[in-house]
């Protein structure tokens, strides 16, 4: 059989649906946006593993492993992004997972580059259209598989 080590090789044009884990980290109760994103990604033909509220980096990593996810989407609305987003990226690296992290929610413009430099694949603000959300997720997966 073909090479099966490492993460199953994926690219955004793979005919099988992308698998996306969506979650909110810690005590951030605003999940309306995440639900809209879940619906948006579903309508774009993706499989959304919806973890919802009050997740930890550990629970997200565990879900990614069991679900063989291609990308993690985190929604942040309580100004915790500078602490939590890099921590998530760190946790993914420590676990040795080959999965990009996309952030959505309220992130001030001056923080976006800080997150990108910390290893976040993309940051989506409240003005992002459905098309932009889908394109960002696909691009994150494509870049990740290209870097492999």
């Amino acid at each position: 059989m073909s090479e099966t080590s490492g993460h199953s090789p994926r690219s955004a044009d793979d005919p099988e649906p992308l698998r996306v884990v969506l979650a909110k980290l810690g005590f951030d109760g605003h999940d309306r946006g995440l639900k809209v994103v879940a619906r948006t990604l579903r309508d774009a033909g993706m499989e959304v593993i919806y973890l919802g509220l009050r997740q930890t980096t550990e629970s997200i990593i565990a879900a990614c492993e069991q679900e063989d996810a291609d990308v993690i989407g985190l929604s942040m609305h309580n100004a915790g992004h500078l602490t939590l987003a890099p921590r998530m990226v760190q946790a993914v690296d420590t676990a040795g997972l080959d999965v990009p992290v996309v952030i959505g929610g309220i992130v001030p413009a001056e923080d976006v580059n800080v997150l990108i430099e910390a290893g976040v694949a993309a940051v989506l603000g409240p003005g992002a259209s459905a098309e932009e959300v889908v394109a960002a997720v696909k691009a994150a997966v494509t870049r990740q598989s290209a870097a492999r």
């Binding site: 099966t4 080590s5 499989e47 959304v48 565990a62 679900e67």
Partner: protein
């Protein structure tokens, strides 16, 4: 560092490497050429685990009950396969069962969400393969949860050693109970949300239905639960254990598994034939037959018969 050969991957999965197990499941879920090889390797070690099916209407509390069952089983390594429908329009899916389980299950539980995906009937073979992989990786029990709507979903939940059907108060009366195909597959009934009025009415209707006759010497017990509070879950698990003993003592387990093997092989033949049928119709002989149908020289039935005969001889020598 990453295991390469299939044997190494199964070894790693057995030793608790969940990422490797997750990937093996992806391979069988895709039902591509790798899937056949993975399935074959898994089949060598499979057959040890208890398989429990949980099904019922949307919102009846299946996922919450499933999570509780994994926890009260007291097993070292329980696994849950949670199946949700894909959108027929976009192929996408929202797999939300984990949020009903996370609070109940312990970290030793392996949960995998599966979407029904587009391929017609594919689920009927992808799920047994996923169960086989979990089984070979040492997980036990394996709880398969499906929404009890649609023939395929009910059939999948019914293809278990023990099938639990979840209903809620107000779901219907004795007449509904007799016409719903869902209920015929139950080894155990759960009336969930039993804190609501008329839970006892729901139980009475089920009892009435069962009084009219049941399949064999096992009469499906009815357990009342309030899953969000964890009430009645111990009773439910006790009934699962009792049914397991019944399966062993009566010889029904071997009969069930024999039926399951037969129907899986039949399903796979059917899928393979369907695939070949589509290719045949695209091929030259298919085009030719279709042209004759268009000119009214051949009926669709006759064309199908001719093409089918080219796939399989009508009078098989073994018949």
């Amino acid at each position: 560092m990453s295991p390469n050969s299939l044997d190494e991957q199964f070894e790693a999965a057995r030793a608790g490497n969940r990422r490797v197990l997750g990937r093996l499941l992806t391979m069988v879920e895709r039902q591509d050429d790798n899937a056949v090889v993975v399935s074959e390797r898994a089949h060598r070690d499979a057959g040890q685990a208890r398989v429990i099916g949980v099904t019922g209407a949307p919102g009846s509390g299946k996922s919450t009950i499933t999570g509780h069952l994994a926890a009260v089983s007291g097993a070292d390594q329980p696994a849950i396969l949670a199946i949700d429908p894909s959108s027929p329009l976009t192929g996408g899916a929202i797999l939300g069962d984990r949020i009903r389980m996370d609070n109940n299950v312990s970290s030793n539980t392996f949960i995998r969400s599966m979407a029904t995906r587009g391929h017609a009937g594919g689920l009927a073979v992808a799920v047994p393969d996923a169960v086989r992989v979990l089984d070979a990786a040492g997980y036990d029990p394996i709880i398969v949860e499906t929404v009890g709507v649609g023939q395929v979903e009910v059939t999948i939940a019914a293809a278990a050693d023990t099938t639990v059907v979840v209903v809620t108060p107000g779901w219907g009366d004795a007449v509904q109970a007799n016409k719903a195909g869902l209920l015929e597959v139950a080894d155990i009934f759960v009336v969930n949300k039993a804190d609501r009025p008329d839970a006892r009415g729901a139980r009475r209707d089920l009892e009435l239905m069962l009084d009219l006759g049941h399949r064999d010497d096992w009469r499906a017990p009815i357990v009342l639960t309030t899953a969000t509070e964890g009430e009645g879950i111990d009773d439910l698990w006790a009934e699962v254990e009792r049914h397991t003993s019944y399966l062993h003592d009566s010889g029904e387990l071997a009969r069930r598994r024999c039926r399951r093997r037969r129907s899986e092989v039949a399903d796979r033949i059917e899928l393979g034939l369907r695939d070949r049928a589509h290719r045949l119709i695209e091929a030259h002989s298919g085009e030719f037959a279709l042209d004759r149908v268009e000119r009214h020289e051949l009926s669709p039935a006759a064309a199908a018969q001719q093409l089918l005969a080219s796939l399989i001889p009508d009078n098989h020598p073994e018949d």
